[in-house]
Symmetry: C2
Subunit: 385 residues, 2 copies
Amino acid sequence: MINYFSSDFTLGILGGGQLGKMMLYETRKYDIKTHILDPSKEAPSSIACNHFQQGDLTDYNTVYKFGKKVDILTFEIETVNLKALLQLEKEGTKVYPSPKTLEKIQNKGKQKLFYKEQGIPTAAFIRFSNKAHLTEGITNNKVKLPFVWKSTQGGYDGNGVSIVRNGSDVAKLPDTECIAEELIDFKNELAVIVVRSPKGTIKTYPVVEMEFHPEANQVEYVICPARIDEQIATKARKIAEKVSKAFEHVGILAVEMFLTKEDAILINEVAPRPHNSGHYSIEASYTNQFEQHIRAVLDLPLGNTNSKVGGVMVNLVGEKGHTGNVLYKNIETIMKMKGVTPHIYGKKQTRPFRKMGHVTIVNEDINEARIIAEKVKKTIKVISE
Amino acid sequence: MINYFSSDFTLGILGGGQLGKMMLYETRKYDIKTHILDPSKEAPSSIACNHFQQGDLTDYNTVYKFGKKVDILTFEIETVNLKALLQLEKEGTKVYPSPKTLEKIQNKGKQKLFYKEQGIPTAAFIRFSNKAHLTEGITNNKVKLPFVWKSTQGGYDGNGVSIVRNGSDVAKLPDTECIAEELIDFKNELAVIVVRSPKGTIKTYPVVEMEFHPEANQVEYVICPARIDEQIATKARKIAEKVSKAFEHVGILAVEMFLTKEDAILINEVAPRPHNSGHYSIEASYTNQFEQHIRAVLDLPLGNTNSKVGGVMVNLVGEKGHTGNVLYKNIETIMKMKGVTPHIYGKKQTRPFRKMGHVTIVNEDINEARIIAEKVKKTIKVISE
């Protein structure tokens, strides 16, 4: 057994954004030594780690050299140099999730093909290597409008995803490898956080329900537990487990799903790391997703995924028309509301729709939490000074 | 309204031990800038603050200069230079708790006299300026054996406190200012965490029950809620409120009490800061004591003091016969147990009875939590490598 606690053991984390920052609460709690690599010297995780290195996450040498100095390597963002991870693993560094898993997820085209191969239900799609091919596909009627366009690489938080309804929407698309996906007429968007250990022990969190902001295509409310039938919840958790096993994933995997009007569950996409849809767990769960991720990648026993209380999460995104030094207007007002905890990520500059923080509302009664969440949303504004 | 979040506002914290470390989880969550002063460069809070300074907390110039660079100053340890705090306050720096409050608490003799003045129930006592006077008091029968001896200054975690039963116990006492206190034949030791804002808004946490290790005189289990009558709990919370008001305290005040066999409540002593008896709140409460302290000293709205679930806290102290690089033996075993979260303070060296961490056990059923806590206590051992 490795001695992780107050020892020289070092965990490396690629990426130092808010997810890294929230992981560091847990490594501090356990006094586990950490190294962080991030391109920005003002990254939210630049403090609270034991060593911070500024560097390019997509550069082979930077990632390779960083990885050689740590005992176990994980990441909080998918866009990292895969070849460096493969080489590190070959040379004996433990990398979790494994580069082979990441390879299957990093490119959304490959991810979708994997679901098809594995018999995992997902929306119908076609992959195109560039915009010319996509346009050809539309002209040939292989792709019917409306459809969901997704860039195969580098998309996150609604970037790299568009609903294409007409010719002018097509014209606006960038020229990249992409997939055209059937637009699902869903009842609900759901997500299940799964955790899996290196030995294959697996646990799922309760199903959460997501409500999206119609314009920014960012999650507006995450509600746990989802207000759905228990049978459907059980089915969703089983499918999420299947997905995690199929990927041989280690750590936290966020599995986003559509619940169709016919009560079918289709996998939308996955994130191989702690995820926005699991932030509620900090206040609501027995073991939050960040601690759970650390437990999994270190091959420590997995914690309890049950909730103590109901939780609703509201994202704090920059207001339209505001760019500059951030001000959280009315934060004192929401701090008076029952069960409300704001999380400020530490980005000094706001801009429209930038993810600046989140607020968790916990309550024994999930419906009361949802009502308070709406008040929170209407009250706090992320503006510039 | 001051903009505390992701701004240049700076909170100074005197002391960088485990209490400071746990406060820093909260300042990170809110992205509040912090400066820490501690004599040890390896202090648990040396990372996760924005600026760490090594220096003597009892030195006037060190504390004064440190305080001049921050906007609001607080502390996590009582043994700090009081004159520097008084001067800083005079020159406009906000110091919470105020130096006037600290002055009344820092010296246990003054603290006891204050209870007497304010009509707050406490065990009978006599103050002695040195050991010769104490011995004279015993000889003259002013003090009867057995009694509780307390050093008036610098005591913590059972240091500076002894039960004196006979002449050889007297012989072992150091020569310092002290109090001789009536030995109370109590049913229970209780504590109430109180939080008070600069404007005087006050809230109390549920009463906790404490079980002490008979040899080390350190708390072994803290149980929340205490398994006592609701009437007694209400009375304890009211007395704790009265104590906080009397001291005009701002921030977290931990009020330790005896419940006598006749169901009277006597104040034992107070700590003007987050306290061991409130650690359970990290996992069990809607707002934990560290966040609550930050909210109070920054004059932000106070959070909910209620519990989501029951909680039991077990201290992790160094095993007898072990001095050196620490190893948390069987930590993986306790991490498998229901509702268990270990906290490792980050001290690299263990020694007998040194406080190295704590473990929280949460459960909807407090009796189940107590059973698991005993298993935790029997399983994990803080030893040297």
